[in-house]
Point group: C2
Chain length 179, copies 2
DNA sequence: CCATAACGATCAAAGCTTTGATTACTCAGG
DNA sequence: CCTGAGTAATCAAAGCTTTGATCGTTATGG
């Protein structure tokens, strides 16, 4: 058998989930082990995925992951208020403001004052920004395909459906939202 | 009908995924829309979940999300080398080092030199640290249950299985790993 | 035995994040 | 009008992240 109840010394990032669930269950019997396993696994898969995309696709092309997210939104929607970009990219307004300092310095995004409201700032892609995000997204999607390719067509649909259900659920609705 | 093909102005964090997939598909027909939808959804769900856990559970108790992860590992494994904590918590060694400065200052973790290797640093929970993480994790798990409760028992198992498959897949294996 | 490579932790610089001011502007009621 | 509430962006302080350099310790091959 290869599946021994690994002690702390043989653990790695993957097997840690199983170890954590077992250990916690004996220590605090009242906890819900299945919920624990779900959240731990979800977090670890997503972290690995984002780390891979950022380090393999975006950083080599001069973008950070947050920078990519902002360019992506602007690429799809066209010029848009800073506030809306924050909402759609899932960042705070302050974070967008700070991030756009970098993107503007790098010549990828430009700021301009909105006509209808002088408090608002309109963000748009520069030509260089559009060029960057177009190529960057192509590479991004290739890498996405490599990940998604592990699952069958049916499995992918199932997974997406379950994630959407989770997102639409009551806990998500109650959640203190920034979005 | 409520499902109109929302333009950029009616979008929110949720409906953005659908909008992005449609728009990108017409613009770059070569991309794999299903892979795109999977990665976007996975990232958005996980971000919302982590944001909720951090803001509703951990921050109010004086822990950051990364701080929680480190305490959690030490709580389960017992005293452990800094390098191993980094591997199991999915952070770089430098990040652990910086983070432990804060945790040590707050009296939750203590550092000591390893006997067998004078380069290595052994991290352990203080009594206050153990107390903190025990209570913190109980609240964390309650919130996890609220999220997981959206899905049926069978759906939870299916979702966990698919996430594990994704994690075990070839793309994950190729991925430039920090872990 | 020793030179050199490998390794563990930390530091340094740059970037992104958060919350909580602050500043500038808009809007509605009196 | 014009005052006060609300809103958009930015700033400030503190924290976490990354990569790459440095320093000390350990392991190894000649």
């Amino acid at each position: 058998m290869t599946a021994e109840p690994a002690g702390p010394d043989e653990l790695d990032y993957l097997s840690f989930v199983e170890y954590a669930v077992k250990k916690t269950s004996t220590r605090l019997p009242a906890i819900d082990a299945e919920a624990m396993r779900l959240v731990l696994t979800l977090h670890r898969v997503t972290s690995a995925l984002v780390y891979d995309l950022e380090s393999a696709v975006h950083r080599p092309r001069g973008l950070s992951w947050p920078g990519f997210r902002v360019l992506f939104v602007l690429w799809l929607t066209g010029p848009m208020e800073s506030k809306r970009v924050a909402e759609l990219s899932g960042m705070s307004r302050a974070a967008v403001s700070a991030l756009v300092n970098t993107l503007e310095r790098d010549g990828l995004v430009s700021r301009r004052q909105a006509d209808h409201d002088r408090r608002a700032v309109l963000l748009s892609l520069t030509d260089a920004g559009r060029e960057t995000i177009t190529n960057d997204y192509r590479a991004h999607n290739e890498r996405e395909q490599a990940w998604a390719g592990t699952l069958s067509e049916a499995e992918r649909r199932t997974l997406i459906g379950l994630l959407e259900k989770l997102m639409a659920g009551s806990a998500a609705a109650e959640a203190k939202r920034r979005f």
